[in-house]
């Protein structure tokens, strides 16, 4: 039976833990709201960009000539894993990392190199058998456009110079506050946009200024950046959502724990009072003889 003081101490600890988890939940909720807005704002742009690319492919005759489309035999693959910098967000990090390692263990073609986004991903992969090429961390929970652009530049440059032949991207897509989906997709080479033959409306005879090649040259880097930014923004929103829920659960659990500890405390107090009373009564009895 724990003493009164022990129980009181534990209640105090749990209360202060609850205060922290509650605060973290609120911070995560505020960050989630902003991140969610960001996701909603970037979606139209990337959707329009997809449309424009497929119209460009449909409208331009002949082969698409841009290095990002080059599908060649695989000698080396780059795997990009987007996780978070901080923990305490439920299974967010382990889910995306597990998906990536499952894929890696399936012995993909060629040599492997890893690019990690977020400290948690780096902590995991730096101790594994696959070499880590680069790490982009310290996002502070918000999108840093320059970092996203640098990452895109690093990846596209490696791909264009033939250092790597395929870039695989793992991130978390934000569906709603409680629903996420781990996505593993090929970042480069970009799959050739599908030309929809049946849909009459898109098969227009486009004028290209200056020329399809030059438009591709201008469009593809923007497209690659947009894809990277979208993946990061979606992951960030998922991270904050996961953390909000994890911290919400922790707060609820702490509340339950406080209730049951308070019950224990009251029982122990009652037992002590009963004991003291008994002592007084039996002492008086003894005196009376």
């Amino acid at each position: 039976m724990p003493t009164l003081r022990d129980v009181k101490k534990r209640i105090k600890t749990v209360i202060s833990t609850r205060r922290i988890t509650k605060a973290m939940e609120m911070v995560a909720a505020a960050k989630l709201r902003r991140a969610q807005q960001r996701v909603e704002q970037t979606r139209p742009y990337s959707k329009k960009m997809d449309e424009m690319l497929s119209n460009l492919a449909a409208g331009s005759t002949g082969e698409i000539v841009h290095p990002y489309f080059e599908d060649r035999p695989i000698k080396r693959q780059t795997v990009v894993v987007i996780a978070s910098d901080r923990g305490l967000c439920g299974s967010f990090n382990s889910n995306v990392i597990r998906r990536a390692t499952d894929w890696l263990k399936d012995s993909p073609e060629g040599e492997i190199e890893i690019v990690t986004v977020g400290k948690r991903a780096n902590d995991f992969f730096k101790r594994r058998e696959w070499p880590v090429l680069a790490d982009v961390s310290d996002w502070g929970g918000v999108l840093d456009l320059n970092k996203a652009r640098d990452l895109m530049r690093l990846l596209t440059e490696r791909f264009v110079t033939g250092e790597t032949d395929r870039i695989q991207l793992f991130f978390t897509r934000f569906l709603s506050t409680v629903r996420y989906k781990i996505v593993g997709e090929v970042y480069l080479p970009i799959p050739k946009p599908e030309v929809d033959e049946d849909e009459g409306g898109t098969n227009l005879d486009y004028i290209f200024e200056p020329s399809p090649e030059e438009i591709y040259a201008a469009l593809m880097p923007s497209y690659a950046t947009t894809k990277m930014v979208t993946a990061i923004v979606e992951s960030l929103a998922s991270e904050h959502g996961s953390r909000m829920i994890a911290m919400g659960n922790a707060t609820t659990n702490a509340g339950e724990m406080i209730d049951s500890l308070t019950l224990d405390y009251n029982k122990a107090r009652q037992a002590q009072i009963t004991k003291e009373l008994l002592e007084v009564v039996s002492g008086a009895e003894a005196l009376r003889g």
């Binding site: 704002q41 139209p44 742009y45 424009m52 227009l204 200024e209 947009t226």
Partner: protein
Amino acid sequence: MFSLSIVTPERVYCETEVESLVVPGTDGYLGVLSHHAPLITALKPGRIEYRDAEAKVHTLAVSGGFIEVSDNQVTLLADTIESGDEIDLDRAKAAHDRAKERLQKKDSDISIDRASAALARALIRMRIYRETH
């Protein structure tokens, strides 16, 4: 009349019906009226002008992007876009000075390309700001 939607990576800037539109294509300014032939082109930093349904002219500064015209539907993907009121003149001036300084130093080809692009963006922002104030 045709519909124009301007989208930036940050947000949907506007979706509206317009009478006419002028944009800075890479080969020079081009005008779009309704029933324009399908067209895709890249944009360079410059001025965008459109006349809305009430014949009011709106002037915007764009820093680059793409435009697609098809079937009276114009989609403008802009890197950044601002009206005169949204332009931060001090920031544009600072960017202008910084770019000028970099151009005078002449480090490497890449930084010259970047600096001259930055200079072009700053100049167009400053011009649009002056025109509308």
